[in-house]
């Protein structure tokens, strides 16, 4: 019997259940666990749940060292950009140490952060920076788009023996959706077909999945059948599922909230050019943020970000190529 759960609650449930299951899981960050009334402190005590100063390098570096000594730290970072002040730990320590040691150590850490906050947070707190991380061998990146995936991906992230960047989209935090009962795990590197269709393949992550599903509804009213695929993790990236879909539809629209050249879309486009070119009946179309910083004022913010209408227009443009060819 599936439960309805808020996205944010699903993350908390996942961390709680994993901490109950494994005493080596610890959870810390800024502005949390401040009093004994904190629910995590109540359940797990002050050794495993801690508050930190605003010291991202120390927070992430300590997590890495602790992970090599047998703990499984989950670090609460709140906003993905806060990782940038400690980016060496993220991309040049956590994923390197196992490899450089010749496999002698492992670094099972989860760096948890919100992102993409398209609600007037302007240039420094609204970004989509997974493009900077998804190409680092040894580093996994999860981008859930609903409560079930938020829960299942967090559980998988905590159990994974590799460093994982777990990014939850701020615009999804209050969305409710069904979550399966029991120990629900979502495997990494397995895309999910969120809506089946036959005319066009739309690939999107996180908030863009929601927008793509809305766009698919609009298209359905016009008799266009769109398949919506959510990779769920962009590292590892399930290219095979996208290729299979393109084999069927012959058309691909990639939707991504990041600016074009730092998007996951640009990587997927490259993979499809390499592995799926012969199936394409039209050029791949990318619907990404425009190449600006995120502006503060609402009309400008909306203008630069992908929207349902932009997705609909892109789908129609790739279908028009086919019509012309026929």
């Amino acid at each position: 019997m599936p439960r309805e759960m808020m996205f944010a609650e699903a993350i908390a449930v996942a961390i709680t259940e994993e901490m109950q299951r494994d005493p080596n899981v610890v959870f810390y960050g800024q502005n949390m666990a401040m009093t004994d009334r904190d629910p995590f402190v109540k359940k797990f005590g002050k050794d495993r749940v801690r508050i930190t100063p605003i010291s991202e390098t120390a927070e992430l570096g300590i997590a890495i060292g602790a992970a090599m000594s047998g703990l499984r730290p989950v670090v609460e970072l709140y906003m993905s950009e806060f990782m940038l002040v400690a980016f060496d730990e993220v991309v040049n320590e956590a994923p390197r140490l196992r490899y450089m040691s010749g496999g002698q150590v492992q670094v099972p850490v989860v760096f948890k952060a919100g992102f993409g906050f398209a609600a007037g947070w302007a240039g420094q707190h609204s970004n989509c920076i997974y493009g900077m991380m998804m190409g680092i061998p040894g580093l996994k990146v999860a981008l859930p788009s609903n409560a079930a995936d938020a829960l299942g991906l967090m559980k998988s992230a905590i159990r994974d023996n590799n460093p994982v960047i777990y990014l939850h989209h701020y615009m999804l935090m209050l969305d409710k959706s069904p979550v399966p009962d029991g120990d629900h795990l979502v495997p990494f590197g397995v895309a999910d077909v969120k809506r089946a269709g036959k005319d066009v393949t739309i690939v999107a992550t996180a908030w863009m999945v929601k927008k793509s599903l809305l766009a698919a509804e609009m298209l359905a009213k016009e008799g266009i059948s769109a398949e919506v695929i959510d990779p769920r993790t962009v590292a590892p990236l399930d290219v095979a599922t996208i290729v299979e879909s393109v084999k069927k539809t012959g058309r691909l629209v990639l939707v991504d909230q990041a600016p074009r050249h730092s998007s996951a879309a640009v990587v997927i486009a490259g993979e499809i050019a390499d592995q799926g070119f012969k199936y394409l009946k039209a050029p791949v179309k990318m619907v990404t943020a425009l190449d600006t910083s995120v502006p503060y004022s609402e009309p400008m913010e909306s203008f630069v970000l992908p929207s349902e209408q932009k997705i609909v227009d892109a789908v129609k443009s790739v279908l028009a190529v086919h019509a012309a060819a026929v």
Binding site: T57, G61, I62, A67, L71, D88, E93, Y99, M100, S101
Partner: protein
């Protein structure tokens, strides 16, 4: 002879032997650039001059205590029991290297001998060491973690953030700031506010309300005493300390940075090469930590001249074999590069 600083004859001889092993190992690394050009790639950083500091500190360890040094990391695993040949083979990029040729000189690792990793990025390993101490605290293992880093690292954010958090969490860690006076090529007086003011670098501990003490890092018995005190404090749950260990490194920062095919070697020390201060370098050489300890041990009757020579000959013989082993070890297969990306 009477025991010295509570250390018996066997332990003192062990300490002397380890100091000689570090020196000879580093000498062999340095000679490799001349005798076997190309055997060592990239950058190698030597710890000659640091022998008393390394051995004095590590002699205070309990059996399971962890050690996390900087990228200047050859000496510590030698003392911890990592086979020297596996270290040399790693530096020679061989399959039998301790990291199977994946890490090299700057990124040695031997968790089986309580040495998890070294980071090649200055100062970042300080946070990793505190993390190991956090794990020891949560898991109640009783371990103390020894974090070694240079004077240059003490200007990194990682140093300051970690010392603060380690103090807040009372982590069982000893921070050993190895002040060899040169941050890569830059003299400490040009880049450290404490040094410019004529103050010891151990003063940085005051900012985090933890003990900070400066020790003569060329005197192995003094290092043993001061680091031992810090380790016992950590073990007693009273939190971290900062020890500034002052010594001089006898080699330059690393082999010269050259672009292939130009061969690389070790040049003169920065004091001469960059600053033209030959007398400073010569004075440091006269204060060699190994010669000083040798004199102490002969003076108190721990060993005779003949016994000391036997130790030194044994070490030379060991490292001769180590170099032979490393040269004979095969290179990794190219496709081995795909291993260990994922756990």
């Amino acid at each position: 002879m009477a025991a010295q600083n509570g250390l018996g004859k066997d332990r003192l001889i062990w300490m002397y032997t380890q100091m000689c092993r570090i020196r000879e190992f580093e000498e062999r690394v340095k000679r490799t650039f001349v005798e076997h050009p190309g055997a060592i790639r990239g950058h190698a950083h030597l710890g000659d001059g640091a022998e008393a500091s390394i051995v004095g500190a590590l002699a205070t360890r309990h059996e399971t205590d962890l050690v996390m040094p900087s990228y200047r990391c050859h000496g510590y695993p030698l003392v911890l029991g990592t086979p020297a040949r596996a270290l040399m083979a790693e530096i020679y990029q061989r399959k039998d290297g301790i990291c199977k040729g994946f890490g090299g000189s700057m990124h040695l690792s031997d968790p089986a001998h309580h040495f998890p990793t070294a980071s090649g990025i200055i100062g970042q390993g300080i946070a990793h060491a505190a993390g190991a101490a956090y794990a020891a605290q949560v898991k109640k293992t009783g371990q103390v973690v020894y974090s070694f880093f240079g004077d240059g690292s003490s200007k990194q954010g990682a140093f300051h953030e970690t010392l603060n958090l380690a103090a807040v969490w009372k982590l069982p860690v000893v921070f050993v700031l190895e002040n060899n006076e040169y941050q890569a090529y830059t003299h400490v007086a040009l880049e450290d506010a404490n040094a410019m003011a004529g103050h010891p670098l151990s003063q940085k501990a005051k900012a985090y309300s933890i003990p900070g003490e400066t020790v003569d890092g060329t005197d192995v018995l003094k290092v043993y005493e001061v680091v031992g005190k810090a380790a016992e404090r950590a073990r007693a749950g009273q939190g971290p300390s900062l020890v500034e260990s002052k010594f001089y490194r006898f080699s330059p920062h690393g082999n010269a940075i050259t672009v292939p095919p130009v061969p690389t070697q070790f040049q003169e020390h920065e004091s001469i090469e960059v600053y033209g201060r030959k007398p400073e370098f010569e004075a440091a050489q006269k204060n060699d930590p190994i010669s000083k300890f040798r004199a102490v041990l002969m003076g108190n009757g721990t060993f005779t001249e003949a016994e000391a020579k036997r130790i030194e000959d044994g070490v030379r013989q060991e490292m001769e074999e180590v170099v032979k082993f490393a040269l004979a070890s095969p290179l990794p297969a190219p496709e081995d590069a795909l291993n260990y990306v994922w756990a």
